[in-house]
């Protein structure tokens, strides 16, 4: 089978950095489906940009070796010719919407192909029908759910009919149903003779694609090594973490200084929130004991983030929320942690306006969140997953009395770092705090003490994950799929002060 994509010892280094993508030789045939996996920072997104020509045309680092795309060398051909041969779907669909309506979003790419008007009209209709977007053709893309936006992003690329499709973490923001639908669409591409290259952490979903080939990247070491004095464990284990597959990133930090007085029981009564006249949360009543990790799962748009904002006192609401009979004091880490960061270094960020900071706690947090080597790095230069961990450290340094609220904490985290978060959540729960996390990642939710399923009309199930995950009726009511691998027997280590490696199960 002739190669449609070929890289020959291709390597890339970003300007003013000494990392990017390690040398890689790869041959991808027409109609082949490839999964590119690997830990955060291994160069998956960089590879996606190299394969589509955005590197070197829009990025001015150092590209070594060669990348060939359907007979064109990416360094020689203009970007618009490369775009005809390879389409790129980005991680965040909302950030790639260029038009004011769904229909115009598809039209944009077709206009650039120079097609006659009637051909454009025909392709628009076919694409809308194929992706089930006809009913929303006039809607602004910003008003669509995350799953719908990702579908539209894919549709606007597929309409151009490129022989190669490259997707950069397309599943990261999708719930399980939307993820499964997207995977179905990708599986159909193979039959149409199109090659697809998918860079993804949530790779379990992609194993449903027949004939999927997998490439695991180790990637270059991007940052200075861990300072050994922060650890009491074995420094050589840190190197083992580099492939992410082992999940053994965590060394053993010093004993936890997180202990504080238990915060008390969280009680919400008749909690209701409306946004723009639309009810988002309706009359929710629940109670959560201190010292547990609680996962909230629901479809995109079900109100999970709004619930966290209400519990944090940031959202106007009806009903009451109390913790131990008092006003709750939770720290909230946002899905987009960038909103919370602004200082010149990780150290300054974590210590910002903390009166008389407990430096033992600070050092422990750096170690427990894998941030020690970035202490002097500007937080906004870190990866998405690392930014989230810095934001969590800033929140924990403030010592919120009742616990922390984490909005999609696993987004952008590889298996090893997810395990790191689980471990920290356990530490907090062990210290008498409540940890509430919202997530689409059912493998993460399965490791909580309690799982709540949130639908648009309220909670449809709650209990220990082992029970709730098997409640087919509740999931059907929610409109979410529970993939088989989530239901597989679970390592006991996580439910009992887990070790990091447990996350890396298939």
């Amino acid at each position: 089978m002739p190669s449609v994509v070929s890289t020959r010892e291709a390597a890339y280094r970003y300007p003013q950095c000494d990392y990017g993508m390690a040398p890689l030789s790869l041959e991808i045939g027409r109609g082949e489906q490839w999964l590119i996996s690997g830990p955060s920072g291994c160069g998956k997104s960089t590879l996606a940009r190299c394969l589509t020509g955005l590197i070197p045309h829009l990025y001015h680092g150092v590209l070594e070796g060669e990348v060939w795309l359907d007979g064109l060398r990416t360094t020689d051909a203009p970007l618009w010719q490369l775009a005809e041969r390879a389409g790129l779907v980005f991680q965040n669909p909302a950030a790639q919407m260029l038009a004011h309506s769904v229909e115009e979003e598809i039209v944009f790419g077709l206009e650039n192909l120079g097609l006659p008007r009637d051909t454009i009209a025909q392709r628009v209709e076919e694409t809308l029908a194929h992706f089930g977007l006809e009913a929303m053709r006039g809607r602004p893309p910003q008003t669509l759910s995350g799953g719908e936006q990702q579908k539209l992003a894919l549709a606007s690329i597929i309409a151009r009919q490129p022989p190669v499709l490259v997707l950069d973490e397309p599943l990261s923001m999708l719930d399980s149903t939307a993820a499964a639908e997207l995977v179905d669409q990708l599986a159909a591409l193979s039959g149409a003779g199109r090659a697809a290259v998918v860079c993804e952490h949530r790779e379990e979903y992609l194993h449903a694609i027949p004939g999927l080939r997998t490439l695991r990247l180790d990637g270059p070491m991007p940052y200075p090594a861990v300072r050994p004095h922060l650890w009491t464990g074995h420094a050589e284990r840190n190197e083992a973490s580099r492939d992410g597959a082992t999940g053994t990133f965590l060394l053993e930090p010093n004993p936890s200084p997180l202990r504080q007085a238990p915060g008390g029981r969280l009680e919400a009564k008749g909690l209701s929130v409306s946004l723009g006249g639309r009810p988002v949360l309706r009359d929710l009543s629940f109670a959560l004991e201190a010292g547990q990790v609680v996962a909230v799962v629901g479809r995109n748009g079900a109100g999970k983030t709004t619930l966290l904002r209400a519990l944090a006192g940031l959202q106007k609401h009806e009903g009451s929320v109390t913790c131990g009979g008092a006003r709750p004091d939770f720290g909230l880490v946002y899905q987009n942690a960038e909103l919370q960061l602004f200082n010149a270094s990780v150290r300054e960020e974590i210590l910002f306006r903390v009166p008389e900071p407990d430096m033992e706690r600070y050092t422990w947090l750096l170690a427990a969140l894998g941030l020690a080597r970035y202490e002097q790095t500007p937080p906004l230069l870190l990866s998405e997953g690392e930014k989230k961990r810095v934001a969590l450290a800033t929140v924990l340094m403030r010592r919120p009395r009742h616990g922390v609220l984490l909005d999609e904490p696993s987004l952008g985290q590889d298996a090893a770092h997810k395990a790191m978060l689980v471990r920290l959540a356990r530490e907090l729960a062990g210290a008498g705090q409540i940890v509430i996390l919202t997530t689409h990642d059912l493998t993460l939710a399965a490791q909580a003490d309690r799982l709540l399923l949130l639908a648009s009309d309220g909670f449809v199930a709650e209990g220990v994950p082992a029970q709730v995950l098997h409640d087919g009726a509740a999931w059907a009511r929610l409109g979410l799929l529970v993939p088989e691998w989530v239901l597989a027997p679970h390592p006991a280590a996580f439910s009992n002060c887990p070790q990091a490696g447990a996350e890396a199960r298939p």
Binding site: W80, E111, L380, A391
Partner: protein
């Protein structure tokens, strides 16, 4: 309790679909807006009279509430300018400057509340503005509503991590300034990142292709010709009436 919006909900000028001007060609609306802007040359009494007529046009176009909201957003600017002009010069100047700003604000509302970014782009391209610039302007116009949202989301996110104090009084002014800087850094970063993401997305779909062919075409209808005739008449009156 902090009352803030949800990130991602556009708060800019909303398209008024029920306005009859929504059906008009963007070039017509551009001409209408430019003509209305000419009225800023009028002396006070005639400007006040023109504003009355202009309000009737907005009423017909079902845009009066939209224009009023737009003026209300500028209330502090208008108030400060009014007081400053009154104190430093005289009341007549204060009134005329305020009325001119109200007129310009209403003109802005008339165009942008009835025109999509794609229509704006087509109008600019018709005016021989190169595609890449017309596209950039339309994209910027589309993104304006997000800025306010992002500012609120950042403020809320920083409250959530406890980074913001609630200083009161003049002695806390330095802390307030520091807070403003704290807000500005992520705002600048987010805006830059969004612009970069959009640039990547546009180029990944062949934005720089020399073979681009526009799908939509502008065409003047009966309503446009009627409005253009009225606009020409009003422009002539404005020039002669000065």
């Amino acid at each position: 309790m902090i009352r803030l919006g949800t990130a991602g909900r556009a708060r800019g000028l909303v398209l008024v679909e029920r306005s009859p001007l929504r059906r008009a060609d963007p070039r017509t609306k551009l001409a209408l807006s430019l003509c209305a802007s000419l009225a800023v040359m009028l002396p006070l009494e005639k400007l006040a009279a023109f504003l009355g007529v202009y309000a009737l046009l907005l009423l017909w176009a079902r845009l009066l509430p939209t224009a009023a909201r737009q003026v209300w957003r500028l209330k502090w600017v208008l108030l400060i300018l009014f007081v400053a002009d009154w104190l430093l010069v005289d009341l007549d100047l204060a009134v005329i400057i305020t009325l001119r700003l109200i007129l310009l604000s209403g003109t802005f509302a008339l165009f942008f509340a009835t025109t999509t970014p794609a229509e704006l782009r087509l109008a600019l391209e018709w005016m021989r503005v190169p595609h890449r610039y017309a596209f950039s302007v339309s994209l910027a116009f589309q993104s304006v509503g997000l800025l306010d949202d992002e500012w609120r989301a950042i403020r809320e996110a920083q409250h959530a991590r406890g980074a913001w104090s609630q200083p009161k009084g003049w002695r806390e002014l330095p802390a307030r300034v520091r807070d403003l800087v704290a807000l500005s850094v992520p705002a600048v970063v987010l805006t830059t990142k969004r612009a970069w993401s959009m640039t990547e997305a546009a180029y990944a779909r062949g934005f720089d292709s020399p073979q681009r062919r526009p799908y939509r075409q502008l065409a003047l209808g009966r309503l446009d010709w009627f409005l253009l005739a009225g606009t020409a008449a009003v422009a002539a009156i404005l020039i002669l009436w000065r």
